[in-house]
Structure formats: structure tokens, C-alpha cells
Symmetry: C2
Subunit: 138 residues, 2 copies
């Protein structure tokens, strides 16, 4: 079982809290923002809101790129890309895991899909299909 | 004289050493990598090599996006975009300023364009035309 991520890359992604998500706008240009993420298997998961531009980009294009950097010299980095989608069902555990990463606290309860839907909260999920850039990750 | 960057944004960009450069590939998808940069006026400057994919993307599309993040919670960030180009003339001072940022040492001499041309070294320059995302920058 060899996926796109080798052990060093996986370790690196697991230790970093945030990365730069890049999606494609309807005018064909790129849109980037810094977001918290989790890696589960070969998937990157991000919590966002359905009406946000990044979510709409992913719904329209089915693709995203994600670039993660370390925070000290020599600023190791890893860039990945792959099919992406917006998920609204069974997203309580993934959302709770992201909240824990953001707040540093374990949530009291895993939210239900119904609770998350009230605020339009969704999971933006990227399949890591390809690692296209890597620097100083070892 | 009010440009796209307010004082807080300018200060933030001036204190960060690296950012995520995003260019557009020939297949229309986005390519991101972490690079050192300097801000001079309303221009972001990056030292790269002409044959690198990011330089070729910029030559082909005339556009780039740049996303800078702070390295501690709450991970402040700023995303900008604008016209971009590859510059090969009078790039010694900009290249020296970037080398100083990368190595932490003032170079012994400012390289000449001829010296830089030997290694294919160029400046990738982005006009900050628009700030399209900002979080926790104050």
C-alpha cells in the first residue's frame, strides 16, 4: 500500500496545524487562504462554511491545492493537489477534530450534521492525489 | 497616495520572510510554493530561476497571487494578487536584498546582471494590485 505521501511527508503534515488552501475562481485565477486542517489517511480536511468563496470554488471545479510550511528556517514545505469536494453528511467527528486543533480543547460533544447545517458549516475535503512540491521535509 | 496596502498590512508583509506564491499552470490549475520575498513599495519580489515552472507560468500568464502567514496562533494572513513579470535587468540590488533575507548576511558585493544570467537567476515581481484576503492582521 503506497500512497502519494511517504512517511516523512505524512509526519510533516500531521505536525502542522495550518496550510494555504488554493482553489480556482470562476475567472480562472487562483484564490488562496490560510486554514486549519487535519490529515486523515490520504485526505486533507478543512472546516468552512458553504457560502464561502473557497467552498463554492470547490463545488464548481472539484479540485484544490494545498501547501503546508514549517514555521522556522529553512521553512520546509510540501505542496499537494487533488480532487476536492464539499461534504455535509457524517461530518461531526471531522469537524470536532478540527475544532480541537483550532482551540486546543476537546469539544464537549461531537456536533450533529443538523447542528452544523444551521450555520452552513461543511467539510472541504481534498484527496491527496499528487505531491507536486517538497522542500526540506525529511 | 493610498495604495492597496494599509499600514498594518505593509508592516505585516515587511516582517515576514516567506510566503506562498501561486501561479497558473498551462492546464489552468494552480501551482503553489513557499518562497522568500521582499516588499518594495507595492511590489513583491522573489528570486528564482528562469527555467523554473513558476517563472514560466508568470511569463505565460502575467499574473500571480501571494499569501503570507504569521507563524504563531492565530496565524494572521494576507492574500494579494496582481500583474506579475520576470525581470532580468538591473536586478542586482533586489537579488542582494533577497539573499540577505535568506542567509541573514549582507552579501560581499551586489551581483551584476551578467553574473546572475549565468545561473539563469531572475526576479519574479508582482504588483500588489488587490488585497483579497486578510485575517488577524492589525
Amino acid at each position: 500500500m503506497s500512497g502519494p505521501l511517504d512517511d516523512a511527508s505524512r509526519r510533516f503534515l500531521e505536525t502542522q496545524p495550518v496550510g494555504t488552501l488554493t482553489t480556482l475562481r470562476s475567472d480562472g485565477k487562483a484564490r488562496s487562504s490560510v486554514v486549519y486542517f487535519t490529515l486523515e489517511g490520504d485526505r486533507i480536511r478543512i472546516s468552512t462554511v458553504a457560502k464561502r468563496a473557497k467552498a463554492r470554488d470547490v463545488t464548481r471545479t472539484g479540485w484544490a491545492s494545498f501547501c503546508v510550511m514549517g514555521h522556522e528556517k529553512p521553512f520546509p514545505s510540501l505542496s499537494v493537489e487533488g480532487p476536492a469536494r464539499i461534504v455535509t453528511r457524517d461530518i461531526g467527528p471531522a469537524t470536532a477534530a478540527l475544532l480541537e486543533k483550532i482551540t486546543g480543547k476537546t469539544p464537549d460533544a461531537v456536533p450533529t450534521d443538523e447542528q452544523l447545517a444551521v450555520g452552513g458549516r461543511v467539510i472541504l475535503e481534498i484527496d491527496v492525489e499528487r505531491v507536486y512540491g517538497v522542500s526540506y521535509v525529511s
